[in-house]
Symmetry: C3
Subunit: 320 residues, 3 copies
């Protein structure tokens, strides 16, 4: 399903009328149904965790994520599952944004852990196929969805923790930087960073602003120009991630971190978060259309399309 | 005495006509009179230090601070003494601001060390009793005094050094962050930070701006949301304080630090300080009334009043 | 030659008609002619490096710099040579800015290493003789040239690497901070910093902005107020320089660093650089005339002129 942005408001209006638990539409696995059932047994049930499967929706042909809300803790876990590398396509971005929006509307949810269901990769970033050989209209639609994901996460009322269990270049790094807290698996094979310039493309100003807010002006300047990808250790050193743990402890550490955030009254934390981030968010909101047309005119240039073509061909050679 | 803000200008106008040395009104202790007398003996007098007691005033029933200016060095020491914990009430804030203003008008004064006369506490921050069960008018008056203290200190022509000899949460941390330099006693029992959210309240944008200017955006984001209180060692690590020393060396270290600042021609230092801080100051000045009404409408909310009530009850239980 | 700013545009217009290689006007040393000749032998010639001497011009009586462009690598090396200490006079500033502009117009050039041809000093900063006893008009002209140098370097399309092979106070520090990357000789006798206040003068807002962008707000606040000069080790610690190497490895390290920057497509790197720096540049551009008249009215004050006189006299005593 190719959900266009113009249809978004309408779509959500319809969704809003559907009771929350009915929205858990698609293909629940037996395990999932089990945990679903476990929900009613409360905190001491035999099942690992009392869980509501909020979403395991399916916009395209394959399931691209699971969102499990533990109603006893108020923590949802959003597991990205768009093989092979969680590339952020228009569909996937839309699904992510809608899933977050749904959690926001759920009063039982106070925080969300974002992680990957795929091995070795958190998210490979924006789907280059959405930028190569596409019409300007489609490119604009795609870019609006990238903006939307950023806007929703960066301003979320929820506590957002990224449990980065794999490499996280470009848009994957951006997604993690929108979160309140970042825990990364301490595996030197993984890397994270905004490496856009290495592909001959450019991180837009709000990627840049998010980066500056996270690691400071000078580190951002050098990292963005050189498109640097950092090892987990180096990412910790510059403040791009907040904590490193062995991969098997990622989710439990995320849950423990969440507890520290939950100790703070939500309204006070939310107003504070907004105070910190609103100027950056307002900057995009007031230049959103310009940003889209800038992106479209940049990405549809012959020279840029050639760069992307080259990059895609190299990718294919590597696979072959 | 409840000095209202509207009367402030008039009050100062009257004060301005009183010769400086006559303003050292109140209850001088014998020791103080001794040091006062010592002043005329010049730099080599037998008395520990040639001192002018600029202020040991008494707006309310008890003396809340001493301000001693060493005319041989140009350094004033402002010792906060509002038992039990130097809570910043409307009266106390007003006294602090007026004392600083007076030092600013004194050509013999180039710098001020702010410290506490009470054991274990620098300042417990804004007086919660000023925010609980008070009329909107009174709350507004209080908030204007908080703004005034911040404005005066953050823009002071004097070199301001905080000698933090005890814990310094919330408004206490803010006061120290307005200074040019912060030295803290290296006692792991002390802590410092803007912990407003832990009380269910929110640091306003100019607290936040001061914090960002001091420790950077990302550290401020996490510290403000979680209301983190740092040990002296951790405060040093994030740059919230500049130096740690054993408590008995605090004042001597502050004096030595002051010497480094005095080595710079005042006008060059002052213009530079203003260049660094003016944008932050102008931001509050241009939104001062809005900030007051935001505070008043927030703090007088039923839910916030309930939070404060709970907090005060817990405080009382602890004491009992 | 005293090239006034108003004549600049015309001067450049004339220059633009002269073929690039004819512009290598002046007094080529035999060694230089040799390397010049070596150019045509291509990458494997016997001569150390294939080089085009782009400029070894001579506005005043003595040669003040050499600019060698290695056409095989696209790297130019600009060696400042204005004895005794590379003071930035009006003439020297103008020459530096024009040399950079020329390299920018040269399609074969992708990056420039800025270094000193003098021992122990990178640049002593702005020439105080340009600020002492001069007419307001001349002061204004001088200041415009300082702005111009900063504007050209801070916004350069080229990769700019400062190879800081000596002390670099005030304007020397500013010049290095405009670069994309700073490598300093690890010699504890050298120092670097914006020490203007030590002379009783004040770094203007765009010096300050450059400093904040490089080392952050708090470090800049304290460094600028105290006019701190840092050892190479301390400069590395606060992020004022990016790397320290033994002095004999400075240029080779700069070349290696340049390679990392050249690995990125120029257009992507340039757009990213502009995104990072444009707000800071626009701030000066929109206040350029005000900044000039502020400088002129400040520097021509009696009190400031007295400070400068004192400083110059002390300098002369030291020499004698």
């Amino acid at each position: 399903m190719n959900l266009s942005y113009t249809a978004w408001g309408k779509f959500e209006a319809v969704r809003a009328e559907i009771p929350n638990n009915l929205r858990t539409l698609c293909k629940l696995s037996p395990a999932r149904l089990l945990s679903f059932a476990g929900h009613s047994r409360g905190r001491r049930g035999h099942f690992a965790r009392p869980c509501t499967v909020v979403a395991q929706r399916n916009f395209s042909s394959a399931s691209t994520m699971t969102v499990d809300l533990d109603s006893s803790t108020g923590i949802a876990v959003m597991k990205l599952h768009s093989p092979p590398v969680n590339s952020l396509s228009l569909d996937f971005l839309t699904e992510i944004a809608i899933s977050l929006e749904k959690l926001e509307m759920n009063k039982g949810c106070r925080g969300v852990v974002v992680t990957s269901a795929l091995p070795k990769i958190f998210s490979a970033g924006l789907d280059i196929l959405e930028m190569y050989g596409k019409s300007p209209e489609r490119c604009g639609e795609f870019w609006r969805a990238v903006q939307e994901m950023w806007l929703k996460f960066y301003s979320s009322r929820l506590v957002t923790v990224a449990a980065i269990n794999g490499s996280s270049p470009a848009g994957g790094c951006l997604l993690s930087m929108t979160c309140d807290y970042r825990i990364m698996a301490d595996n030197p094979r993984y890397s994270i960073g905004l490496n856009e310039t290495q592909l001959g493309i450019v991180a837009p100003f709000w990627f840049k602003d998010t980066m500056v807010n996270t690691v400071g002006h000078r580190t951002a300047e050098i990292a963005l120009q050189l498109g640097l990808l950092y090892s987990p250790q180096d990412a910790l050193k510059i403040g791009m991630v907040d904590e490193l743990v062995p991969e098997e402890k990622l989710v439990s550490t995320a849950t423990e971190a969440m507890a520290r955030w939950f100790a703070i009254p939500d309204h006070a934390r939310q107003i504070t978060k907004s105070a910190m981030r609103k100027p950056t968010i307002d900057k995009l909101l007031s230049a959103r259309e310009t940003d889209i047309s800038n992106f479209v005119s940049f990405i549809t240039k012959d020279s840029i399309q050639k760069s992307l073509k080259l990059y895609l061909e190299n990718l294919r050679k590597k696979k072959a």
